[in-house]
């Protein structure tokens, strides 16, 4: 139990129950209208999945927002939009980041890779994607793009991780279906190492 959070919520409750209520959501705070005077979109050129993408970006706009709602790259999921779950994980210069917690302006001179950018130009799956298919790693699939991006980042840094290293590297990506073991199997398979996903035995 986080006491600070409890206190904050308590105070919020007292305030909101007095008269005017407000939601506390910070979603989609980047928007063309209703912005404070002087806050304007600026046209910048992003490098996303190897392509130059000109896009108008607000100062406070998150990378996840830009990718999903301005560039149509909806493979980057928003599970929490506050840096808790990892569903929005993308690569920035080959390092995995939560796109919900990064400002788009901060990546304008950097290479952004989303799950849509992993396939080869001819459409072949990236080895990590293929391993995820072969291990039947996803269940509901919502966290899968984030898991894949963290796995790709890991293998760029460490092409043959131990299972324990993979577990640590992916620990920032939650999966409510609990497909962790299958995701680890997929990482090991993608790195060319043995996986163990067969039944111990069926009678």
């Amino acid at each position: 139990m986080n006491v600070n959070v409890s206190r904050r919520r308590f105070i919020k409750g007292v305030i909101t129950s007095s008269a005017a209520a407000a939601t506390s959501s910070a979603w989609y705070s980047a928007s063309a209208s209703q912005r404070p005077a002087g806050v304007v979109e600026r046209l910048i050129i992003l490098n996303v999945n190897g392509r130059k993408r000109p896009v108008d970006v607000l100062p406070q706009e998150t990378l996840a927002f830009t990718l999903r709602y301005k560039l149509g790259l909806t493979g980057t999921k928003l599970g929490c939009n506050r840096g808790e779950c990892g569903a929005c994980t993308v690569l920035v210069d080959d390092i995995n980041h939560y796109a919900c917690s990064m400002l788009t302006h901060s990546v304008k001179n950097r290479a952004v890779t989303t799950v849509e950018g992993l396939q080869s130009p001819s459409g072949e799956l990236h080895p990590v994607q293929l391993a995820f298919v072969e291990e039947l790693a996803p269940q509901c699939g919502y966290c899968t793009p984030g898991q894949i991006m963290s796995a790709v980042a890991l293998l760029k840094e460490n092409p043959t991780p131990t299972r324990q290293e993979a577990r640590q590297a992916l620990a920032g990506n939650l999966c409510r279906c609990g497909a962790y073991d299958h995701y680890l199997n997929a990482v090991m398979r993608a790195s060319g190492q043995a996986t163990d996903n067969t039944a111990e035995r069926s009678t």
Partner: protein, 800 residues
């Protein structure tokens, strides 16, 4: 059933998985349509209140705001059902109104300009506080909900005794029993009495339940996130007040449900109404915080059990008493399901369940993975170990002697099962885990760490009957498998169609699965919950394929001569058994079916299929050879899903940290249909079990009714680091006679066995101590080790 087993028991690549790994999979919030407005909710800041007035003038004056929708614009339903929007919120987060605007920020800003005048009403977050004389009721209509809302208050002594964990004396509005309880206890060598608490906690699916709706050509299009597909249609159409044929429901992908998205939940209908009012498409995005409010949670238990065990370990009698924390809205059944689980897993000679289902002003509850069965697995399995210790028995042996077989009976009516082989599951697991050797490690210390080794069991009913199957062959030779099953992540929407493909002896690569969109002519389906899809829809696919085979042979006889019995199928051809040269391809048969019309091509269909299936067939009429049927196959009783888990843990007595070192699950779910899918369920269920046993809980501020659990980091869904890096699995693989492929379901028992195993391992590590509470948090472990006094209120639930 074909003797050639080419598909069942084999892994395959479900077609939707490519979308999941490439990002092309579209969940509800990934859709966008021209002219789309963005809605934001205003939810209740109070746990129980009445809306006196809403002043939206400033909000509506804001540039870019298009409209407002309140409870007055949507149907109000009889309590304790949940309306789409309400003027009497019954929990913090209950949706009161929504604003639509040209973009999300404008809607958000407009929400902050709403002047909402609320009259606070009495509220309660602790069921026992509600049962006190004069205690607050979570709803104005009453405080308990056996099957209708009633008011129930115990005496102060009743409440006081219950809070101390003594034998309950308060009235229980629901009760069932079988056998002679008194005789059962008289025959017992050991009698145990324990009080217990299992705390509620959120489902917290990764995908918040965002919804997009628009109207086109008189039809309402809804992009939603539900576990089920066809099952949602009648309920959502009813909620929207439209004919089923005027609803197009799309849920091709569902980012997790676990019981919280079974059917048409309230906000699924909101954008439909709002879109109609504004004549614009409306997207309602749900935030993570809102998902904690409206996304449902597990029913909590405060209870007491008395159980008798004979000298040989047989369970002679169980007396179970549960106060259920229902939250504020219609739900229930967890307590009875808990009783049912005990009745089958241990086959007690006599049993009684008493249930006090109490409303609280907390998050609405609903079915959550093993609702009832898994809470009680966490509590009763460690009691079984305690009995074994007192009787000088092995813990695996006491499970073996009580294990259900195919003659097992269950529930109040002591009905039969289709089949059960729990003894085999226990024996297989014991052998693979090396139980004989490892069980002795319990209690061994190394530095500050102590080992625990245990076995646990789980159960859920796992199969229904009476739903429809629909298969079709087109003149291009393609086999179309129409699946009304939702895509909740188990791949059963696809794996159950393989029964049809195998029955038709066709090439899997030649099959096309249609699913996830009601305009794709999908048959009536069960809900995708209750571990039931594999059993239920293997049957439905089988009967549809058999109908198609019958028609195919009739067409062959009409075309090639002889009678239908003279024909069989292989390699996508129907051939004369006596003269195999006399044959036709499936493609040729499909073309002839179109010419023949009538039942062959769907112009006529059986009387007993559901109206959803009737519309699907009508929509497909004339496009090929159609097999369609309702599952009227015999089913002799409850189809049980059973599972056993073994685990070894290490507890750090200085920090209270639990580490699960090794885990093995054994499924007893009939024939294995899809090995990788089964492995996923066993392991995923285990992760849920670890969370319930040691991590996840609700916490409310009792003075203000405010939840303190609206983030993953607060509710502590298990991460990679909370689970072992490898989890083993195995399966008994004994066919169930009432499934054409021998399979039953497994999703929920896969969790219950893990919860039980971890709870038992904690006990094993700590000299047999029973915590009798979930979750067992680190501070509870440290307090036990430090011999700290018991907490002031051992029955506290939902609070600190």
């Amino acid at each position: 059933m074909s003797s050639e087993n080419t598909l069942i028991g084999k892994n395959f690549t479900p077609p939707d998985i490519y979308g999941k790994v490439t990002g092309k999979a579209k969940y509800a919030e990934d859709y966008s349509v021209d002219g789309m407005l963005y809605a934001r909710l205003l939810t209740s800041p109070m746990p129980h209140a009445r809306v006196r007035s809403i002043d939206a003038s400033a909000a509506l004056a804001l540039e870019g705001v298009i409209g407002i929708i309140t409870a007055d614009d949507v149907p109000q339903v009889e309590a304790p059902n949940a309306p789409i929007l309400t003027n009497e919120p019954v929990y913090v987060g209950d949706p009161i109104l929504a604003i639509a605007a040209v973009d999300e920020k404008t809607a958000e800003n407009a929400i902050s300009l709403i002047r909402l005048d609320l009259e606070p009403l009495p509220f309660v977050v602790d069921p026992l506080a509600s049962l006190q004389p004069g205690g607050p009721s979570a709803r104005q209509q009453g405080n308990v909900y056996p099957s209708e809302i009633q008011s129930l208050h115990w005496s102060s002594e009743d409440v006081s005794r219950f809070r101390k964990g003594e034998e309950p004396t308060g009235a229980a509005p629901t009760e069932w029993s079988y056998g002679d309880l008194e005789a059962g206890f008289d025959n017992a060598e050991v009698i145990l009495e324990e009080s217990f608490v299992t705390t509620g906690y959120a489902h917290m699916s990764m995908e918040p339940r965002s919804v997009l709706s628009y109207w086109r050509g008189g039809k309402c299009y809804v992009h939603g996130s539900t576990q089920s597909q066809s099952f949602v249609v009648p309920f959502l159409a009813g909620m929207l007040g439209i004919a089923q044929e005027d609803l197009v429901y799309i849920s091709e992908y569902c980012g997790g449900g676990f019981g919280s998205k079974i059917s048409a939940y309230p906000v699924l209908g909101l954008p439909g109404y709002f879109s109609k009012k504004l004549n614009r498409p409306v997207m309602l995005r749900i935030t993570r915080e809102e998902e904690y409010y409206i996304g449902s949670a597990r029913v909590g238990f405060q209870g007491w059990i008395k159980a008798g065990f004979a000298a040989d370990g047989r369970v002679t009698a169980v007396d179970l008493y549960i106060v259920e924390d229902l939250g504020p809205q219609r739900t229930g059944g967890d307590a009875s399901s808990a009783g049912g689980a005990i009745s089958i897993l241990y086959q007690p000679h006599a049993m009684r369940l008493r249930d006090v289902p109490v409303f609280t002003n907390t998050t609405p509850r609903g079915a959550q993975r093993g609702p009832g069965q898994n809470q009680i697995a966490a509590i009763f399995e460690p009691m079984l170990d305690k009995a074994a210790r007192e009787l000088g028995m092995d813990r695996l042996a006491i499970r073996m002697i009580n294990a259900p077989d195919s003659n097992a009976t269950l529930d109040a009516d002591q009905g039969p099962v289709t089949s059960a082989y729990m003894g085999k599951a226990l024996a297989l697991g014991g052998e693979l885990f090396n139980w004989e050797e490892r069980r002795t490690r319990g209690g061994q210390r190394q530095g500050s760490k102590v080992t625990g080794v245990a076995v646990g069991q789980g159960y859920h009913s796992a199969g229904a009957k009476g739903f429809d199957g629909l298969v079709r062959i087109t003149p291009d030779g393609k086999i179309h498998l129409h699946s009304g099953v939702g895509n909740l992540g188990t791949y059963s929407y696809a794996s159950t169609t393989r029964t049809a493909a195998q029955t038709l002896r066709c090439n899997w690569d030649n099959c096309v699965i249609h699913h996830g969109n009601s305009s794709l002519h999908l048959p009536w389906s069960s809900y995708q919950a209750g571990s039931n899809t594999t059993f239920t829809h293997s049957r439905a696919n089988y009967v549809a394929a058999m109908d198609l085979l019958t028609k195919m042979k009739a067409i062959a006889a009409l075309t090639l001569g002889g009678s239908a019995e003279d024909y069989d199928v292989a390699d996508e051809r129907v051939f004369n058994i006596g003269n195999p040269d006399l044959s036709m391809s499936y493609a040729e048969v499909a073309a002839i079916a179109i010419d023949l019309g009538g039942p062959f091509s769907g112009e006529e269909y059986p009387d007993d299929i559901h109206e959803v299936t009737q519309r699907a067939v009508t929509g497909l009429a004339g496009t090929g050879l159609i097999g369609v049927a309702k599952d009227n196959l015999p089913k002799r009783g409850t189809a049980p899903g059973l599972a056993v888990a073994f685990c070894e843990i290490e507890l750090d007595l200085e920090t209270g940290k639990l580490e699960i070192l090794d885990y093995l699950a054994v499924a007893e779910c009939g024939t294995v249909v899809h090995p990788q899918g089964l492995a996923g369920q066993l392991r995923g269920g285990a992760v849920w079990g670890f969370g319930m046993a040691s991590l996840e809980r609700h916490v409310y501020d009792p003075h203000n009714g405010l939840p303190a659990h609206v983030g993953y980091y607060q509710t502590k869904a298990p991460t990679y680091l909370d689970v072992p890096s490898h989890m083993g699995w195995a399966a008994v693989d004994e066919p169930d006679p009432d499934s054409p492929v021998g399979a039953r379901g497994i999703g929920e028992p896969a969790m219950g066995c893990a919860t039980a195993a971890v709870m038992c391992a904690l006990s094993d590590a700590l000299d047999g101590h029973l915590f009798n509470r979930t979750p067992v948090s680190a501070d509870m472990i440290i307090n036990y080790v430090a011999k700290a006094p018991r907490p002031a209120d051992p029955m506290a639930i939902n609070t600190f």
